[in-house]
Amino acid sequence: MKYDIVIIGGGLSGLVSGILLTKAGRKVAIVSSGHSALHFSSGSFGLFGQRDGNFVERPLEAIAKLPASHPYRKVGIDAITDYVKRVKPLFAEAGINTHGSEERNHYRLTPIGAFKPAWLTIDDYATVGKPDNLPWGKVAIINFNGYLDFYPSFIAKGLEEAGLSCSLKSFTLPELETLRKSSTEMRAANIARVIVGDVIGDVAREVNRLAGDADTVLMPAVIGLFDDEPVKLLREKVDRPLYFVSTQPMSVGGMRSQIRLRRYFKKLGGTYLLGDSVTNGVAEGDRMMKIFTVNLGDMELSADYFILASGSFFSYGIMANPVSIYEPIFGLDIKAPTTRSEWYHKDIFKDHAYMKYGVTTDDEFRVMKDGRTLDNMYAVGAVLGGCNSMKEESGAGVALMTSMKVVDNILAR
């Protein structure tokens, strides 16, 4: 099977690359082995949130000062300044509605009641301009009975430290009681599936009753799995401002993002192969010619260009064994020391070196094997390494910016 571009990895970077290339008229296939880290999303997308443990207020200014090894530097600050403006409209086209600005970070409320900087956040998640001046007045935190992946008292403690008063409430509905029969599966996605149609009105009624004299209501973000219609309906029916707080995984907002992006990619004509793994590739000289997958067997996928969007350790884009760190599909060159003790810090909360390991690329993000650049194979997103996206709150931004850059590089050829 022949495509213009084959993308390995179906998470944020793979899907955004695929969408942009398909929109540019290219024939694109994405191979995804299982679902991506988007399912663990906080509901926010970070561009650059923290530097050396300090919150960053203006991400673009901070990005301009990053060291040359950072993937943002290869994208270039001019390109980033242009790309960041295009992300919100692109998400909206796919059906993911967000708020936020690249000019100044806002702050999202975390599942344990802290505030962290973010660039774009899914509409209706609880965010504030600045964490030292909370606009919510009296807050009612309302949970569903038996839902264990949400910790209202942690959130209340965080908000009370910031000077707000909180009340904690919970309720149930017959539909949710049915779910509770299975104690292990009272989970976000299952709740989201139940709160649709007429049940939304029942939820609103309970919320209005329980909110008492609260000015603002916070609830776990477990509504709206396939689109945000149930969220909008509920907010219309609740008689005061209602915001959602991200939960422990699975993240309904993240799943909704994944589902919306994948549907949009397919609607544009893209091919998405789910549950398939790339086994190997065949290169001729400095060009990757074709790749093989478990499911397609001896029928190869050939393409003019390949994009590696396979993620970092979590997604098996990069792997480690006791003696080495490697890229498992193609054996691409990796920037990582061979001495195991250099990979990590003994204090778990410190900056671990392994978080920055990724495949080696040239300035165009083309990957390298045995010291030689592969002319038609690019890497995007977390597999690039070069930064500690957890410490920087930059994972989504790096995925998006490097994808957009690589798409431009390919379209320019």
Partner: protein
């Protein structure tokens, strides 16, 4: 650390990858049963979580694992490549103490039932359709009265083939073996005839296996494992003869039969098929490959005009071969192709026939039915026979295998000319 440490780590992982589960619960999100049946513990709990306990003490086996459809959608979405469905089915085989009753044996023995029923098909069809009979089957056997039993053909596919087609087949320049399965043989021989039409048009003669048994999927899901294994061994012998001695590819028109022979034989029945597995495939994959590699051409009629939605059966999703069937459909110029979200239809073979599962089965399929009804199509295409029954019953829409659609849309004479088919 030396290489032996690395190798030890590798050898310390089970075949079903159960140690690789990171408890992320993505499987639970995409399980079709979990949202409709709270008595099912969910794939994570039923699979890798429960397995830890079962390995310690079989006492921890939970009969609620019977609610698993064996759709494998959990495996498709698992980011850690854990064979969750296999873990659950293996546990049912290994630990369940409930022995299959008469109803389950009847449903599982598609071969035996089919052979008996086709002898007196008009009587059986009329009888099975009668309301009183349905009520009796519901009350005595536990086969849900809402179900329309698939009708039996009055002439088996193999009988037709021997009478009408076999002699000509060896005159075609190339040959391919066909695993027709029980459905084509006893219920819907037209699909087999359509396959003969399409393959003949591109210059391939069809050869049947000498002694084909049921693939075994219904026996596996009803835990008649010894019987399934016995049939599987016979099938593998036949397939080996075709592949290794006669150098033929074995193609099927059922995604489930094909999947069972390729993957359930080694994973659940402990039948090693490694020497022939790659040469067992769906007809749509075989045909697509011929066209993609320039070895065959399809020419379609100008007057074919239909709006067709493709439904991905669960085992097709697991095979990852939807792309072949849909790519073929998209080649038909007059076919307006409508993609559907990949959702389980709920029937899962014999599962949906059982009275205790009927409501779950319909609840599982509802999002799919609603989507189909909303698309205003002329026809639904799918590679699975039980999905066909379920969708036809639940939406009233006609459902056809992609091979039948191709046969219908094909300009047979023009295709034969384009492939320079001359009989020997």
């Amino acid at each position: 650390m030396d290489d032996s440490t690395v190798n030890y780590q590798k050898s310390n992982i089970s075949d079903n990858n159960f140690e690789q589960c990171i408890k992320c619960t993505i499987c639970t999100v995409y399980c079709p049963v979990t949202p409709v049946n709270p008595d099912f513990p969910g794939p994570k709990q039923a699979g890798p979580d429960g397995e830890r306990y079962r390995l310690k003490k079989p006492f921890f086996y939970d009969e609620a694992l019977k609610y698993c459809l064996n759709c494998k959608r959990c495996e498709v979405v698992c980011p850690s490549n854990v064979k969750i469905g296999d873990i659950i089915q293996s546990a049912r085989i290994k630990y369940s103490k409930k022995s299959p009753g008469l109803r389950d044996r009847m449903l599982a023995n598609t071969d035996f039932m089919g052979n008996m029923a086709t002898l007196v098909a008009p009587v059986v069809n009329a009888t099975l359709g009668l309301k009183p009979v349905k009520k009796i089957m519901d009350a005595t056997l536990g086969i849900d009265a809402h179900r329309t039993f698939p009708s039996y053909a009055s002439e088996k596919f193999t009988t037709w083939f021997k009478k009408e087609a076999r002699l000509n087949q060896s005159r075609y320049p190339r040959q391919v073996a066909y695993f027709h399965g029980c459905y084509v043989n006893y219920n819907y021989p037209q699909l087999g005839k359509d396959l003969v039409t399409v393959m003949n048009a591109v210059g391939y003669g069809i050869k049947l296996l000498e002694d084909e048994k049921c693939c075994g999927v219904a026996k596996i899901s009803n835990r008649l494992i010894d019987e399934a294994k016995r049939d599987g061994k016979i099938n593998l012998e036949q397939i080996r003869r075709a592949v290794l001695e006669e150098n033929l590819t074995v193609i099927g028109t059922s995604s489930t039969c094909t999947f069972t022979i390729r993957d359930e034989y080694p994973h659940l029945l402990d039948l090693d098929n490694a020497d022939v597995r790659d040469e067992v495939m769906l007809a749509t994959r075989f045909l697509y490959n011929l066209i993609d590699s320039g070895k065959a051409k399809l020419v379609f009629r100008d007057d074919y005009k239909k709006r067709v939605a493709y439904h991905t059966p669960c085992h097709m999703e697991k095979l990852g071969w939807t792309i072949y069937s849909t790519s073929l459909l998209k080649m038909i110029p007059g076919l307006d192709y409508v993609p559907l979200e990949s959702n389980c239809c709920g029937i899962a073979g014999t599962y949906g026939f059982k009275k205790e599962n009927y409501n779950y089965s319909q609840d599982i399929g509802r999002p799919l039915f609603n989507q189909i009804l909303g698309e205003h199509v002329d026809l639904v295409a799918t590679d699975c026979e039980t999905c066909k029954w379920q969708i036809e019953m639940s939406t009233g829409m006609p459902v056809a295998n992609p091979i039948s659609i191709i046969a219908d849309a094909l300009d047979i004479e023009a295709t034969r000319r384009a492939n320079s088919v001359n009989l020997k």
